[in-house]
Structures are given as structure tokens and as C-alpha cells.
Amino acid sequence: MLLRASGQSDQQDFDLNSVTDDHADSGVDFGHWLRSLTEATIQNRWDDLTTIRDQAGAAMGTQSMVDALVVASGFNGITRVADATGIPLDENTQQITIDMRVSTGIERFNYAEKSDRYDLVTT
């Protein structure tokens, strides 16, 4: 959701579907490498990441590559805080992102839908 706001402030268009679509081009600078670094990190593909770090560092610069890993590792923690506390979206965010949540498929992650989907087997 904040990606849309970044696009507005950068006066660039980003494809929000790239967040949930494995193949969509985000339009973000070095998006391919950011995606590769992020996915290998979150999926614990540490052997793959060895090569990706070298290639991404050569393409976008070592500090930017490291900072991409810094952001990914931070969000690997904070998403778990959200998931473990069941916090709702902030009120304003909820109101202005309804269509976007549906179009990108993010709506299926909401906690009520998760309960319907995953708790059903045991009830």
C-alpha cells in the first residue's frame, strides 16, 4: 500500500500487482534484483542467495544490495508481529485501499478470511 504513495511522491507509476504476482514488473529501479534478494531471504534459500548477492551487488552497488537485505530482514520480523496480534488496518488506510486490496489479492490475507480457510478443517 505504501508503494502506491511512493509512486505518487516519486511521480512514477508502479505496478501494484507485482507485489503478489511473481512475474509482473514492478517498475521500481532494480526491481528484478530487489525481488530476487527478497524472495531468497524470506524463503530461506541461503545457497541461492550467495550468488544473488554477488550479482545484485554488481548491478546495483554493494551498499544498496545490503540495504535491500536489511529491509527484507526487518519486515520478516514485523509481519510476524502483525500476524501474531491480529491487528486491523489503520482506519484511513482501510478506507482508501479497498479496491487495491481486492485487485492485488491482498484481501485474502485478512484475518477473518484466514480463519475461514485454515480453521475449517478442525471444526
Partner: protein, 234 residues
């Protein structure tokens, strides 16, 4: 911490992570230092736990019973909670939270676990992402839990009461209203848990003027992609 890396890491991040590591080893308001360090070990154990692997393959993680490959003597319901948070966070439901509460764990105890585990997830993830061995667990400090005065919380629609939240002037990236975002309020039931987690997290991200060698849009893309991979609604 991070002494062996060949990559450029900012000093502020290293200092923050070292501070968090030391804090985890100290007694918290509801758990001892030994128990808090055990939470870190249990989180690590989840990454190779056979039960967790089976659950990840199942249509519902709540349909697979069994015993975790645990590393500590923490109570079984806490081991299960930690393993689920570490190994399959996107499929945590209210059901898990209710099971923990039914076992007699208080929301305050729960929040402290969430903070310790996820602070260590940040630190462990960065080590692994940089190709480093995980940091040695900190040495637990003695003494009983410290307790805490009642927190200023409200029902904000989460599973736990959340901090009332401070009014903040202005907008954040044109999106937020003028109250603190819910993620910052989510662990408000235990103020020291908020402090611990955000000490670890703060060097990793900012809502604007991000102090990293990335454009804001690049950071938001990474953040959004992590949220999608972890099936995080927030």
C-alpha cells in the same frame, strides 16, 4: 555481532542489534532471562522442525497434530506458538491465540513472547542473508521477572488490547491519519516489548526519508513483497 561480515553494515544497526541481544538475556516483565533466551532457541529450532514442515505442506496447519522438535523445556503450548510464528506466520489464526489463552497464558505473557521471538527473527534473518553463522545466544541474566504497571491500552480490534496511541501531526506518505499506526500500538500491552522490538526494527526502515541507500519506493517494494510472501494482511 557481525564482526565477520565483509559487507558494509551501518554502525547504528549493529549497536541496536547488540543492545537487543543483551536485553533479551535480561528478565522481562513476565519472563525470566533464561526463558527469553529459550524463546530464541525455540524459534531457531522451528526452522528445521519436522512437525512444522508437515504443517506447511498441509491444507490447514491446524489439521496436523504431533510433537515439535523442540530444544527447550518451555511449556508445550508456548513451543507450539513460537514454532507457528517462526515457520508459518501467514496461516496463524485467532484459533492459535485462543488456544494459548486457554492454556492460562495471559495476553501480557503472550505479547512478550511475540516481541522476543520476532526481534530475534530480524537479527537471525539478517545474519543468514549476509551468509553469516547465527549469533551465539546471549547468556541469560539471573533474577525474576520485573513486573510492570498497568499499560494504557484500548480495544482496537486486534486479538489483544493495543496502546491508545499518540496523536501525531501531519500525514505519513499521504496515507496515514494522525494517530500512530496500529503496528506501533500492537504490543502496547507490554511497553518494554514495544521498546525491544522497535530497537531491533528501527534501523531497517522508515516511513519517509529512509536512511538507507535505497529509494523509498524500493524499500516499499521490498516491504510489500515480504508481506505478500508471509501472507501478512497488515
Amino acid at each position: 555481532m557481525y564482526e565477520r561480515t565483509r559487507y558494509p553494515l551501518r554502525e547504528g544497526l549493529i549497536e541496536a542489534h547488540e543492545k537487543v541481544w543483551e536485553s533479551i538475556a535480561e528478565p522481562g516483565p513476565f519472563w525470566t532471562g533464561t526463558e527469553r533466551v529459550a524463546m530464541v532457541l525455540e524459534s531457531r529450532a522451528a526452522t528445521s522442525c519436522r512437525l512444522c514442515a508437515k504443517r506447511r505442506q498441509a491444507l490447514s496447519p491446524y489439521a496436523v497434530d504431533g510433537v515439535h522438535d523442540n530444544e527447550t523445556d518451555l511449556d508445550a503450548v508456548i513451543v507450539d506458538m513460537i514454532h507457528r510464528i517462526r515457520s508459518d506466520p501467514g496461516r496463524i489464526t485467532r484459533n492459535m491465540f485462543d488456544q494459548v489463552m486457554a492454556a492460562g497464558i495471559t495476553p501480557e505473557h503472550y505479547i512478550e513472547i511475540v516481541s522476543v521471538v520476532n526481534s530475534s527473527v530480524i537479527i537471525d534473518t539478517l545474519h543468514a542473508a549476509l551468509g553469516l553463522p547465527l549469533a551465539e545466544p546471549p547468556t541469560p541474566q539471573p533474577d525474576a521477572p520485573t513486573g510492570q504497571p498497568p499499560a494504557n491500552v484500548t480495544d482496537g480490534g486486534a486479538w489483544v488490547p493495543i496502546a491508545v496511541g499518540n496523536e501525531r501531526p501531519g500525514m505519513i506518505n499521504g496515507l496515514s491519519n494522525n494517530r500512530e499506526p496500529n503496528i506501533a500500538r500492537s504490543m502496547g500491552l507490554v511497553p518494554s516489548a514495544v521498546q525491544l522490538f522497535f530497537t531491533a526494527f528501527r534501523p531497517h526502515y522508515a516511513l519517509q526519508n529512509i536512511p538507507l541507500d535505497l529509494k523509498q519506493s524500493q524499500a516499499e517494494f521490498i516491504a510489500s513483497r515480504v508481506s505478500a510472501l508471509n501472507q501478512c494482511f497488515y
